[in-house]
Symmetry: C2
């Protein structure tokens, strides 16, 4: 048995998210179909985590096992020749059999793209940005500082996935210039994220930037741990999983 | 009667090109539908030129006439609230009644995006670039120099649109860095372009860059004016109409 790690890029628009489903088209589903063709039998893939419908990835990490006699397969070329055009293998490696894409991840980075001039929202960017309109960056950055460090993020978790703990350590929330004028990119790094946590944090920060929530109130929402008191989830298309890190 | 000029951006992916058609979804068709809603009667739109199915625009220029009592309509906001998300009005102005989007155009600029590492072709860029693979830029630039200036471009025109002359003046063909790694952007400016001319020029340049045609041969193809001797048309999705210029 050998274990293979893949780095995947995908455009989430036409996928019902990462996780395999009975009927809907998912990234895991498409990947497992192609792997079965190559391996000659069903292959189970483990991702670093799920991404929602419409969420993109440039650096999703996954692993799977297959028989030793598949050792010499050029996985990137073989898979890319079979996969649909909206998912690509961008790198791969054979890894030790204790590597685990999900349990071994020590840090994840997401980026979220905002578009600030709704009347100039370019069609080219509609699958990759949220046209949230004008916001005050300084208010957002003041609120973002509240999230940095170790906190219980129960108020920023959507229901549906049971987790043993809702405590996470956010190491970075930073603003960067976008690809297009009127765009900003918000980078979020943490040791892990709860379900829809980045989109919930982004929704909250945009509400701060619109002057609807004061940064001090964010502190209270975080401390009270009540999801229903927190602002709405930001839409999926602005979000991209950029990178997953592992020890060594 | 007042005359209105619009600057349009659209993503060409889901359109059967610019020009209105009986059945298929076109940019002109969608725009005229919305204008009819606002004007209360059919409105004919004149574009600076047609774009093919799959070709994008960031600066398509169009004009139309409507009754004086529509003078105070905020055209950008009104149209963008009705138009589908893949076409946007990015600017507008009331213009003198001798302005004509097509006949008044003195210069057009297109950009074409190439992707040079096929195994790393990102899903996010597949609607906006041609993954032509590795090419030698110096050979392409040598060939591009042949096209600069006033020439008969009959060999680079696809059939279907009768024109009085196939002579055009190309003022610029230049290479620029792309938005993503492995991408280059090729800018083409001329006093006008024949049907599919930019895509035909790009197809020829890429063939030069692959070493399949020598730059000297390009001179011969251009002089002989024989479309069947010229290389294949580049695919539409790499192309964007950037800008149309008018006198004063």
């Amino acid at each position: 048995m050998i274990r293979i790690k893949l780095i995947l890029a995908y455009e989430g628009t036409d996928f019902s998210g990462w996780q395999i489903q009975l009927r809907d088209r998912t990234v895991q589903g498409e990947l497992e179909k192609c792997l079965e063709t190559i391996a000659g039998k069903p292959v189970r893939v483990h991702g670093s985590g799920r991404t929602d419908a419409g969420v993109h990835a440039l650096g999703q990490v996954v692993h799977f096992d297959c028989a030793d006699d598949r050792r010499n397969i050029p996985w990137q070329r073989a898979l890319n020749s079979l996969l649909p055009r909206d998912v690509r293998v961008v790198d791969w490696a054979e890894v030790p059999d204790d590597f685990h894409a999900r349990y071994g991840a020590v840090s994840k980075t997401y980026e979220y793209v905002l578009w600030h001039k709704q009347e100039f929202f370019l069609p080219h960017r509609r699958r990759f940005a949220w046209d949230c309109g004008p916001v005050e960056f300084s208010l957002m950055e003041e609120a973002a500082a509240v999230f940095i460090g170790e906190h219980d993020f129960a108020a920023f978790q959507n229901v549906g996935t049971p987790v043993s703990s809702t405590i996470r350590i956010i190491t970075e929330i930073s603003r960067h210039p976008g690809l297009a004028e009127h765009e900003t990119v918000w980078r979020f790094s943490a040791n892990g994220f709860l379900k829809q946590m980045v989109r919930n944090l982004m929704g909250c920060l945009v509400n701060c930037g619109r002057g609807k929530i004061r940064p001090e109130e964010v502190q209270t929402i975080l401390e009270n741990g009540d999801r229903s008191a927190a602002p709405a989830t930001a839409p999926p298309q602005g979000l991209t999983l950029m990178n997953v890190e592992y020890l060594s």
